[in-house]
């Protein structure tokens, strides 16, 4: 298999700086990333959908994504679906806390006290449950990493997808420019395995590409031909280098 970012569940928080719920959305996903489901989750800053590049915009096409929104505007869900792909799940912080009978404190917008951390933990458990529903986890909702205490649980190496971008290429398929995830990684894998154009590689390339991309049935022959063409150019470039 090509060397690619590990397939995990993507978590997108609205992060709403104006709202207590925005802060809770952000802290809750950090808890899931670092404490509850560190092996199964990754995140991306929502504003990167606009400020970033095509790698960021491919995020939700590569990772099944849960949007964690603070209010009815649902910026996280809408941004993900507008710029990337439909989400696999949504957690609405405001409605969930209302259902729990939890009253928010304005001071939590900037800093969580002990009670605020407890609320964030409950949200994190709800998000982790959705993660489990997607990945089919065998775990319960107990954290897998113990914390030092409120405000001290945050490591700095939890997966952030802006540092491990989903690799995207654009190629012409039957007159349409299409984005394909992982194409260069697949080409590199084939090249290093000694596979060269002319070996009838089209079908093998197509099967590898389809692991990471959805190709409409009617475009399969054209995609196979485009992959053979692009791989020939890739190999020519490598041999010149």
């Amino acid at each position: 298999m090509p060397s690619l970012p590990k397939k995990r569940v993507g978590l997108i928080a609205c992060g709403g700086e104006e709202l207590v719920e925005g802060t809770l959305s952000r802290v809750a996903i950090r808890l899931v990333l670092e404490k509850y489901r560190p092996e199964d989750t990754v995140t991306l800053c929502l504003p990167l959908f606009l400020a970033g590049e095509k790698g960021e915009r491919a995020f939700a096409r590569f990772y099944p994504t849960i949007a964690v929104d603070g209010c009815r505007k649902e910026c996280a869900r809408r941004a993900t679906e507008t710029f990337s792909a439909p989400v696999a799940g949504v957690v609405r912080v405001d409605t969930l806390l209302a259902e729990m009978g939890i009253a928010l404190r304005p001071a939590w917008r900037r800093a969580l006290d002990e009670d605020g951390w407890a609320v964030a933990e409950r949200l994190a458990e709800a998000i982790a449950a959705q993660v489990d529903g997607i990945v089919g986890s065998r775990r319960g909702t107990q954290p897998v990493v113990m914390s030092a205490g409120p405000g001290e649980v945050m490591a700095v190496d939890a997966p952030c997808a802006c540092a491990t971008q989903v690799p995207v290429s654009r190629i012409d398929i039957a007159g349409q420019e299409m984005e394909l995830i992982a194409l260069m990684a697949i080409f590199d894998e084939f090249y290093r395995a000694g596979k060269r154009p002319g070996d009838g590689l089209g079908q093998a390339l197509l099967e590898a590409v389809r692991i990471y991309n959805t190709i409409p049935d009617e475009l399969l022959p054209a995609t196979r031909a485009a992959l053979e063409r692009e791989y020939a150019e890739f190999c020519a470039g490598r041999s010149q280098a």
């Binding site: 928080a13 609205c14 992060g15 709403g16 700086e17 104006e18 709202l19 925005g22 952000r26 802290v27 996903i29 950090r30 808890l31 995140t43 991306l44 800053c45 929502l46 504003p47 990167l48 959908f49 606009l50 400020a51 970033g52 505007k73 910026c75 996280a76 809408r78 941004a79 507008t82 917008r109 900037r110 800093a111 969580l112 405000g151 001290e152 649980v153 945050m154 490591a155 700095v156 939890a158 952030c160 997808a161 802006c162 540092a163």
Partner: protein
Amino acid sequence: MDDDKILVISCSGVGKAFGMASREAMYAVIEELRPEATDTLCLALLTMGDEEAKARVRSRPTITIDGCPKMCARANVEASGGNLAAGFRVVDTYRRVRELKPQSVAMPDEAGRQLARVLAEEVAAEVDRLHATGEDES
């Protein structure tokens, strides 16, 4: 929401300690240092093209604070046609006070708080300059 205030918009900083510092600096300005003169709005609203949010950044001087080289806050304000008065980067402040290296991401640690405070003072000075020059008038 007061529509005569200078807007201070931080990056959403969900993945990096400098993002956390950018947000803490923003809160220090709008809640402690210049609460009478400044306000914030959700960066995600700008990303989504919310009309009310776009109208606010177009009508009011806006200061951005970014935590990483992607410069999301600045890029989103500029993409919204905002009235960008100044753009700060956490890394620029950090280079002057390298002993203040933040480690935590979700909530600031002591170094993050101190770094954010230094940056917040710089932002507050820019707010004062905009007042003094009349650039904060609509």
